[in-house]
Symmetry: D2
Subunit: 307 residues, 4 copies
Amino acid sequence: MPTILGQNQYGKAENRVVKITRDGDTHHIKDLNVSVALSGDLDDVHLNGSNANCLPTDTTKNTVFAFAKEYGIESAEQFGIHLARHFVNSQEPIKRARIRIEEYAWDRIASSAANSKFIGADEVNHSFVRQGQETRVTQITYDGQNWEVISGLKDLIVMNSTNSEFWGYIKDKYTTLQEAYDRILATQVSGRWRFNWTDDEQRMPNWEKSYAETKKHMLQAFAETYSLSLQQTLYQMASRIINHRSEIDEVRFSLPNKHHFLVDLEPFGLKNENEVYYAADRMYGLIEATVLRDGATAQIPVDMTNL
Amino acid sequence: MPTILGQNQYGKAENRVVKITRDGDTHHIKDLNVSVALSGDLDDVHLNGSNANCLPTDTTKNTVFAFAKEYGIESAEQFGIHLARHFVNSQEPIKRARIRIEEYAWDRIASSAANSKFIGADEVNHSFVRQGQETRVTQITYDGQNWEVISGLKDLIVMNSTNSEFWGYIKDKYTTLQEAYDRILATQVSGRWRFNWTDDEQRMPNWEKSYAETKKHMLQAFAETYSLSLQQTLYQMASRIINHRSEIDEVRFSLPNKHHFLVDLEPFGLKNENEVYYAADRMYGLIEATVLRDGATAQIPVDMTNL
Amino acid sequence: MPTILGQNQYGKAENRVVKITRDGDTHHIKDLNVSVALSGDLDDVHLNGSNANCLPTDTTKNTVFAFAKEYGIESAEQFGIHLARHFVNSQEPIKRARIRIEEYAWDRIASSAANSKFIGADEVNHSFVRQGQETRVTQITYDGQNWEVISGLKDLIVMNSTNSEFWGYIKDKYTTLQEAYDRILATQVSGRWRFNWTDDEQRMPNWEKSYAETKKHMLQAFAETYSLSLQQTLYQMASRIINHRSEIDEVRFSLPNKHHFLVDLEPFGLKNENEVYYAADRMYGLIEATVLRDGATAQIPVDMTNL
Amino acid sequence: MPTILGQNQYGKAENRVVKITRDGDTHHIKDLNVSVALSGDLDDVHLNGSNANCLPTDTTKNTVFAFAKEYGIESAEQFGIHLARHFVNSQEPIKRARIRIEEYAWDRIASSAANSKFIGADEVNHSFVRQGQETRVTQITYDGQNWEVISGLKDLIVMNSTNSEFWGYIKDKYTTLQEAYDRILATQVSGRWRFNWTDDEQRMPNWEKSYAETKKHMLQAFAETYSLSLQQTLYQMASRIINHRSEIDEVRFSLPNKHHFLVDLEPFGLKNENEVYYAADRMYGLIEATVLRDGATAQIPVDMTNL
């Protein structure tokens, strides 16, 4: 046979599980989008259609919902670890499980004290509004021995309205760009960070606290870097995470340079003193890099889109 | 000629204007998406291609950017009023202008006190993160005499994890739905409210404060209504706005019922006590209604998608 | 009570029904997205949460699927007529039904004659590839007496690479646009046309043939009009439909002017003779108009987004 | 310094270039979305903001448009090869270029013979309608010595309405799925194939013909495989390409199993004989695999989203 089967995986993607935990009248939400991908002894499924080694994707979906009840959802990372361990340990043909999770965050709606006797009102400790800012993500991979946990976020839009320059670059025959000494720097952050936790014997990070702190350091580095290039800003964002968070060994960012062009108002007899910008959609610069703790090995893939 | 020209309008849509205002080192952002639609004596443009009465859409775009400099952007509503008045008053063939604006809100990034000597850092009063929750919208229409201002929001996702029931409905031969005495109620709010300000002689509302207050009342009514139907919740949301905001005479909501189905865990020997839900995408119930101040006339269109 | 209830409607949106009809080994597909909106005596549902007059949205969904079996899907229009009649005639409180349908078209996959003995192959009269070009739409409204049928399409992208000019327009202080004597004209067509069939006693149009012919005339008018403005092209597209299709009395188009800008290649020592264009996303001109058969009354709403 | 810089790349993404070629009155379109990513000696840009080795992303954009004029666009692959060679060979610090291209296909609009004297009409050899079916993609990578060309497509939706079964799978405690002996099989194909052309000395494939033939074989294999699992169908699609196209050594598919569930019509006294289906959005099975020519080495990444 002249063709051979290479890397393959399968599972149910985008299981939208919402878990309500009731602490008396106070409710808590975990709102996840869970995707399962399993690999193992699956040649027969591909080559001759025998499904004897195939746990149906429908079963992987059922398992996600059942585990939300059995284990609760302490954090996306913890939940993914439960799932990955289960699939690899419970099914002999399954050698590797990869669980990807998106998490949507919710805030509580403030009550109206003045309206406390409103029809049907009790405390609004069961009422929520979705934050909508970034989407938190995580990916858990387990092969029966080692763990890889890569977490991060996407779609967080940030802007510095000054403290950004760009000059001193190569000029070739196709270069028309004017040097900039005060420009807007805006990007839609897609970032992933890899934890150095790899083994059940090690103590786990506090996943929730780690996320909050990592996001904070990343935002502060973006805000506080006087930028000579988006690459420089990216490096500061990533290295500040590594310097402050010992549980993280590798960071990768994909940062579109969301261009804000100064509008030429001269034809209308007006002077645009860094006030009026046109926010462009496309084209955009796209700046991507990995930053590692010295001695660590890069594992986050170059393309992180689905990660 | 057997065909006649009916309602028509034209203009440049989705002008993405960002205005930075510098108050010393502290910057302020207004981030708008402005769409212009003009109507008037434009039969010739359609019938024989004469553009003598046509102000180019490119000019309407230029005007948006120039006005951001000339008038600033105090609020989306105020900015739209400047634009609409200009187009109608300055061009004889233009009889009516409709300005639609989406506004994207930004928060400031908190600085890291401990890192105050970080390379290149000054105060981060020029650094912002986009809120991402809802998109604020407004539509200004002016015909040379009267104003219509309809503002609102879209894509605000809210959820009550209890205090929602649905029962006592019609049962016909196609009905299989079980009555529900404790269900999740979730929706993605699209709402519009019409101001009773219609005349330059009247005092204008405080557009920014009105928006904040209206959103607050809407959220509280959602949270505090013990719901027997999404229709009932909608009515409470709308009427609470009218009862609290004298500047608003009409409210319309389009509320998709974002279904959260209790997952049947019985096959796995588990009991689902209103804990684990599957969040469905489609199909969804869609509940839409207008609520008016007694005596007011409905003007908000039934279809609000682009409004 | 100072607030009153205005226009309201409800129902299940986006019911994705796929109907396979087996004609021996040859299968036929109808692939629809059906949205139901009902109005009537529904004040109590909004005002006090009594659902006694409310046919659940879940039931409207069930009805869509059951009717696909009971009546088949001859055309989207015919299917919508069955549904609308049912809801109004079978439920006393329901006074008006509006059915919106999107239809996705499929082509057959050609078989490989040379591979006719391939493993598992039989005739591929059950294999399809989705066309993907435009989405066909229809909206049926019935109030127990009269019918309104508005059909159309959206997301059909067309381009003329020449035979388009734009000049002779108003120049004001904000005008910088250069006149164009040979430009690309491209748009993403959203069009709706209203049939003059309104009564069960009248003979129905052949909905499938009418769609095919209307689309053909529209495309030909776009291609064959030497354009002095997109407005002129729009008028030709609409009037050609009315002139050729006696079953249609009103047409409305919403045509974004998808700008293709000539790239300035002079800085690189190159001459751009209408060869290299940059296709912009935003801003875009947006041209909208209704064209009517003489004597007809306009009914298609100005905003057609969800129509 | 405890952090080090890993893989990094940058460039202008999504350059939307449209090239019109005029062959007398007959025009030809190439409509591309071109993304450039460059790597090389770029540590200084990240570490200290020196841009001395940085060719601006704006220049990479200019180059795309200038090359459309200088070289024309014979095929997306050929165009990408010109660009990649230029960036690596012309700039000493640039060691590697990766060009990604999406291509949008256009058909000609048929003229109306009967209307040949229509106002302003000439031949419509300059009028086009976008196909809209799949998006063709390619990725060219060049490091100064070797070439890697990976082409493919995305968003091609296909369906078999019969000849698909799924049974004989693992049943564990979370399995509730019923075995299926006649089901719909539908997927949205994302596929990539790697050419074995790697060296300027080798003769290049005919890129346009290769694409057309590869798509044809892929569709026929989908249609003609009697399927016991989507994995089996995937393997047939990929291996048929390798067996018929000697220029291709590796194929990877990512195939969401777009579930079509038989609707239970029993409660309405109806029997659903594989006629009425509900087309679900999420969750979906996701089946992914690489198939290689015997002896070839896998190079297509596991995650192909942006590829």
